[in-house]
């Protein structure tokens, strides 16, 4: 059974667009998580959302990996793109869609969630 650290690392490295949020896509638990989800949706991204609320260790392991202290955190092809402010700024300028199109090539807009197994 892989550790939380390994699971988080794997999601970041294997999912083209991974966003760690508070809550779920349908019911984000905070404004910034919602802003990131909306911007990614508007950019036509295939979104994989991971809820950090079930266990505080998720956020601790994530921050240890990303060196980013707040939630949400958006990764594209394993690279931290930013929190809600940067994602929104990039979406407003059209850069977010370009960045995702270039990084992913052919893709379809979608949303799904990944649950981490907490030992």
């Amino acid at each position: 059974m892989s550790t939380l650290h390994e699971q988080i690392k794997e999601v970041i490295e294997t999912e083209p667009v991974a966003v760690f949020i508070k809550g779920t896509p349908e019911a984000p638990a905070c404004g910034n998580s919602m802003r990131a989800m909306q911007a990614l949706w508007q950019a036509g991204a295939p979104i994989v959302a991971i809820d950090v609320l079930p266990d505080p260790r998720i956020r601790q392991e994530l921050t240890a990996l990303s060196d980013w202290p707040t939630i949400p955190q958006v990764f594209v092809k394993g690279e931290l793109i930013g929190g809600a402010d940067i994602i929104e700024e990039l979406q407003a300028s059209g850069e977010l869609r370009t960045k995702i199109d270039e990084a992913l090539g052919e893709h379809t807009q979608s949303v799904r969630t990944v649950e981490l197994t907490l030992e």
């Binding site: 202290p69 707040t70 931290l80 930013g82 402010d85 940067i86």
Partner: protein, 76 residues
């Protein structure tokens, strides 16, 4: 007051920078900070925001800041 602590930390981290701290909701823990500093010149947006996060690591960690919005600008 939290806003003063935040702007003091930012003044210290970005000497000579233009610092704006706004309590977005009046509840004392949702802040919009705006920093214009030459320190950001040539840095990517994420590196700029990382510097602001680092300057505010303590209030972010101890919950003084519940939600932080950041806007950064270089002077170039």
């Amino acid at each position: 007051m939290a806003a003063n602590t935040i702007s003091a930390l930012l003044d210290h981290a970005f000497p000579g920078g233009e610092i704006g701290v706004e309590d977005r909701t009046g509840g004392g823990d949702h802040f919009q900070v705006t920093v214009t500093s030459e320190t950001f010149n040539g840095l990517s947006l994420i590196e700029q925001h990382k510097l602001v996060n680092a300057a505010l690591a303590v209030p972010l960690a101890d919950g003084t800041i519940h939600e932080l919005r950041i806007r950064t600008k270089g002077t170039a």
